[in-house]
Amino acid sequence: MPRTEFSPSIMSRPVYAPLKAQGAAPALMLAEAEGAEAILELAAADPSVMDRAHLIFIPGGTGFGPRLAALRARLYHEAPSYPAALERYRKALLDAHMGTQLYLAGTEGLIGQASAEALAAGLPADAIQAEHRGSLARRMQCVHCKGVTEGVTTDPFTCSHCGLTLFVRDHFSRRLGAFQGVCVDAETPGVTPAVKEIKA
């Protein structure tokens, strides 16, 4: 599955670019599902990128594991989910030194959360590379109850915490790693627009 092309939007909407190899520098890599293909392409362009890489892969139902393992990263680990990988990822950030590169590939949910974690650990924004692959599902924060609903694919959608019907905004918070959802029928309770699929 090729890299996603997002249509131009407001300035706070994150923009992603193809991963560019930074040589054999120490690297932390997180990939989810089809994001594996971005890592495979990265290694094909410059195999030395794996020399000092710690690669964490979340299969998400795809079968890329063996091909990623074959890249012979210094450290390779498969985790069933991002929350399961979180402590390992945090420890890697804690032990990292300046000069470490971060490569992220997958959905906006993974990229958003992993970026927020890295920024909080002190990695400057320009050391983070992120390429979008796979599902267009978004992480949405409900501005009313503050709960985050994962894997949102429709607009509007139902907040999985408080039950309000929310419309999907492109306004994005790097700190939370999520887009903003706002009640769609506040002024006209019960009257909601037709549900559409979120497109790029």
Binding site: Q22, G23, A25, P26, L93, L94, A96, H97, M98, G99, T100, Q101, A121, G122, L123, P124, A125, D126, A127
Partner: protein, 314 residues
């Protein structure tokens, strides 16, 4: 532009070339506080020429009883430092602009790594006081050719995080070693000659440091050059002398131009060019490469011109 008239209360040589000046309010009032890395612009009336030089504040940012600067004497320069060293005495009054900070610490940093060359130690002297109060982890490397040149040594606290490298004594600063193994969240601040800043940038890039973690301040003096003439919108012509910057020539001709750092870094004096028959010599760090190539903008504080006519949007 608000300025304070301050009295010179102390003049203390720190080394054969560097002198510390202390300024206080003539009526003893408190001076506006500032943040480490800030500089002030001192106005020096020197026999009919009004000079304005920017100097980093070395005193404690939270101490409003006075401002202190350390000036390196440059006899080959344009005269500002020579004026301070030879024509200023204790008790004199000088106009000093309110502090402006173009080299502030990033307070989110997990560790502050400071690299100073020669007189570039000055902004760090104020920042060290700020860091001590905030109790933030830091490391300072101070490189100078000789002990005589290392005027700041006497003003540095005796702490293990402070490393002095005197190249005459065979102790050179190893940037590769300094920039390796630093924890995530370290920010680097470099102040000193352009060559040092370039060396830090290059070593950091080689070691994979992102640009967002690197900060620098160069003490750029406007370079001299062949005299030239500029034309204003009204048709009035202004002549710029060999050792005079375009900004100074405009000020002498009472043409209002906004300014702040006077060293090509802050963008405040950016001026539009409506006609250019010749070549603008850009010496600033503000305009983009495209802007410089287009010759539609100029930074009068440091840049010059060679050619037939340069018409400014003034």
């Amino acid at each position: 532009m608000s300025a304070l008239t301050l009295r010179v209360t102390e003049i203390t040589p720190l080394s054969p070339l560097v002198t510390r000046f202390r300024f206080e309010h003539p009526e003893g009032a408190g001076l506006p506080l500032f943040s480490g890395g800030a500089h002030v612009v001192v106005e020096m009336p020197d026999a009919g020429v009004l000079r304005r030089n920017a100097y980093s504040l070395i005193s404690d940012p939270l101490d409003g009883s006075g401002y202190e600067i350390a000036v390196r004497r440059e006899d080959g320069g344009r005269g500002g430092s020579r004026f301070l060293h030879t024509k200023v005495s204790v008790g004199d009054l000088l106009r000093v602009n309110l502090p402006v900070n173009l080299f502030a610490l990033d307070l989110r940093a997990k560790k502050q790594l400071m690299i100073a060359g020669g007189i570039g130690i000055t902004p760090f002297l104020a920042q060290l006081k700020q860091l001590a109060r905030l109790q933030m982890p830091f490391e300072l490397h101070y490189a100078a050719r000789s002990r005589a040149e290392a005027a700041g040594i006497a003003l540095l606290p005796d702490l293990p995080q402070i490393h002095v490298h005197i190249s005459d004594e065979g102790n050179r600063m190893d940037l590769g070693a300094i920039l390796s193994g630093q924890p995530l969240g370290t920010h680097v601040y470099t102040c000193g000659p352009e060559g040092l800043i370039a060396a830090v940038d290059e070593t950091a890039a080689r070691l994979g440091w992102p640009k967002g973690a690197l900060h620098s301040e160069a003490f750029l003096a406007p370079p001299p050059g062949a005299p030239f003439t500029v034309t204003l919108k009204s048709g009035r012509e202004i002549e710029v002398g060999a050792h005079q910057s375009l900004l100074e020539a405009l000020e002498a001709a009472e043409v209002a131009v906004d300014w702040s750092c006077r060293g090509g870094a802050c963008g405040r004096c950016e001026t539009g060019v409506s006609a250019c028959h010749g070549r603008i010599e850009h010496h600033d760090h503000w305009l983009s490469d495209e802007e410089k190539a287009s010759q539609t903008k100029i930074m009068p504080c440091v840049s010059r011109f060679v050619g037939e006519t340069l018409t400014l949007d003034l």
